[in-house]
Symmetry: C2
């Protein structure tokens, strides 16, 4: 689905060094669209076109290129031009890109970047991935607490081009402590009272993130308080940077995808599906299939153990997959409900008792319903009505066991500091498979 | 985890009608925090406190209350005060709340709302849930194309208090056609050139949503182009409203949670887990467990069909759950990977051939690996080495069948216009269970 509409024209303009039209092409559309129209060009041609855009616009268009094109530009194009491009990127994006390059290339490029930008990049590189510090950009609109509304607007109008967002203005003191925040909206609506100080407009009840906070905690805060950006401070309250709404949306999407993959027992992919190599993909799936294989071995051993019973009542084995399936499905339903609810902040570990009662009731209801349906094939294949009763009774117990383990295990893992999305599936599946066999054989023994 | 810190003081202030301190309480903190401190109050008390806040702030604090409290206020409090509250809410939020109230109450309240606000609400009520029209708010900053920068700033400064967001200014002509967009950032940075027209600053390559667009398409656009808000137009390009970043984050979170729940075969909950009644919850899970029960019945019938083989080689039944588990797990891994990748826009149905080849290779790799591990218990329990070979060979075939059905079915459903997250799980599970039994028995027949 590559847009080839402009490709011949673009190549012709490049061949002719038609700077007027190339500049016009870069400026006419939304940077994201411009990037789309360049998808059919080679990375080298695309970079040539970008040279005709002003540095800020160039960085913006570049940020919409796909990762392969970005990497090949950073690796292969002229050092000076690449360094200039990195300088124009928001510092957080620059750090993300540099983290994919070989170390010697990074050092080489950093040496060509002006000292203040280099310092910003170095600082951000120190924060661990997945923390607020790694997500933030240093380009925030920070203003001195002594400014008036007029001075603030003037200062902003000079800074606005360089900043990633100016929708909140952060008020700091001489030592860069964050004192308050003024929204641009408030500043604009106070144009009539332009000689009052910005400290009179600012909110002092601040919602902030610590640089060491987990990125998911931060995005939950931003979503909860409907913020456009959240300031990041160190443990002494010094202003370090901001995390903007677009990075928050990216994190929310990324975390949701990762959680869904973990629930399905896939170690989250770092890259998109089609860009992940077959070996990496197989490894990320294989480790979990391997781990899930072990509870499977236990089912072999338990069935072998009940060899005598199964040989006496062969018809019982026909129902085995059905019964284990009921337990597995209800367990994975409960686990997913609890994991997603905890991720959304709707459920807390402290609610465990309430949840246990709810899941017990749900399990009994679902188990009775499925048991009733299960009674039909049971009556067809079982030798006596009493024997047929084994099936609905086992289903009732197995489903209830599924809802209970499925709901309680994720909370247990959350409490123990393990990722519930990652850990719950294998354990819930394993425990339910074994329970299903044990319950089945013992109900059968008791009834026959 | 209700914050009870201020409750006694708040109740005392209410008893004393201490308007000074109550007004101060409402204004001192971020509205979201203020709402948190009021969680322990009854809905009636909370509404009493809100009367001491200015209308806009009152609406803002109210929007952070939980849904139960909001509903009880809308249903039970004084009609005039409630109508005033609804008037102060952004129109999209007002519509969402009204949709939960009984019709006669809605009509009664609407009659008390000023005509222009009522018109906005009526207009939004016409859009189907899940469309851009239902998600948008009508309170956008629209300015006439003839204004200069200075006039625009002045006009904005008067409107800013009423608008939900002023971070983009939409330029419209006399008949309300959307002509372009100017970011506040650009406007602020042009304060020095205050007599030029805003049309000279505006972007004309607009990223817009149609009112009838699906909300997921719109949020993907906002995420892709890193927008703070997206304008919504009708089919003739008339400006209708905007969708703001906070609604986008909510939709992204909601859709991700719903997808995860669908993948785990739960019909998505409309409310949070703890607020959903046991009967509703059981129903939303029960229908899918019921649907999944039918492929389970087929396993009973096929096993019954192979009665003879299973009685001759009882040890084969011990491995049945293990083998079916391998197929089920690898199938659900593939399905989840493809469903999440399609939701993120990383994979398209047109990539099906590439994906099939990838999944075939992955399946063969994973199947060989698991088959090798499976050889160990097979050698322990099978009568001969040749018989033991049944297990790894079947695992190889079943896992490959799992990865193929797991990846191709979601794309088939997507193509056919069905929700892949909803449909894939039961079909992948069902097909894999039956395939596992067929492959198992036929491999055994062939080898023995």
């Amino acid at each position: 689905m590559i847009n080839t509409l402009y490709l011949p024209e673009l190549r012709e303009m490049l061949a002719e060094h038609n700077s007027l039209e190339l500049r016009e092409f870069c400026m006419a559309l939304h940077p994201g669209r411009t990037a789309e129209f360049m998808e059919g060009l080679s990375a080298h041609e695309a970079f040539e076109v970008l040279q005709f855009a002003a540095p800020t616009l160039r960085a913006e268009i570049f940020s919409y290129f796909d990762e392969t094109a970005q990497m090949s530009i950073l690796l292969e194009e002229d050092d000076k031009q690449v360094a200039e491009l990195i300088t124009s990127l928001p510092a957080d994006d620059a750090v993300d890109l540099l983290s994919e390059l070989p170390d010697d290339r990074v050092e080489h490029l950093l040496a060509l970047i002006p000292a203040p930008d280099r310092r910003d990049i170095r600082r951000l590189q120190n924060f661990a991935e997945g923390t607020a510090g790694a997500l933030m950009t240093t380009e925030a609109a920070c203003l001195d607490e002594r400014l008036t509304v007029r001075e603030a607007l003037e200062k902003l109008s000079r800074q606005a081009e360089q900043l990633e967002t100016i929708y909140y203005i952060y008020v700091v003191d001489d030592t860069n402590h964050l004192k308050g925040v003024v929204s641009t909206r408030k500043l604009v609506s106070s144009i009539g009272k332009s000689s009052i100080r910005i400290t009179e407009l600012m909110e002092t009840d601040l919602i902030v993130a610590r640089a060491s906070d987990d990125q998911q905690t931060v995005t939950q805060k931003v979503a909860k308080f409907n913020l456009l950006a959240i300031p990041v401070v160190d443990s002494d309250g010094h202003m370090l940077g901001i995390i903007t709404h677009d990075d928050v949306i990216d994190v929310v999407m990324e975390e949701a995808t990762e959680d869904a993959q973990r629930i399905a027992a896939v170690d989250p992919l770092e890259d998109s599906y089609l860009r992940t190599g077959i070996l990496t993909l197989s490894w990320k799936r294989g480790i979990w299939l391997g781990i899930l294989f072990f509870p499977g071995m236990f089912t072999v051993i338990s069935l072998k153990h009940y060899e005598g019973e199964l040989e006496k009542f062969v018809w019982l084995t026909w129902f085995l997959p059905l019964i284990m399936g009921c337990g597995g499905n209800s367990g994975s339903q409960s686990a997913t409900l609890i994991i997603t609810s905890m991720a959304m902040g709707d459920v807390r570990v402290s609610d465990w008792f309430k949840i246990m009662i709810r899941e017990l009731s749900t399990g009994l209801l679902l188990g009775s319903g499925l048991g009733l349906i299960g009674m039909i094939p049971a009556l067809l294949f079982a030798p006596t009505v009493l024997a047929a009763l084994i099936i609905p009774l086992t289903i009732l117990l197995v489903v209830t066991c599924g809802t209970l383990t499925g709901s309680l295990l994720p909370m247990f893992f959350q409490r123990s500091g393990w990722d519930p999305a990652l850990m719950s599936n294998p354990f819930v599946a394993g425990i339910n498979d074994i329970c299903a066999i044990l319950l089945y054989v013992n109900v059968a023994r008791w009834l026959l």
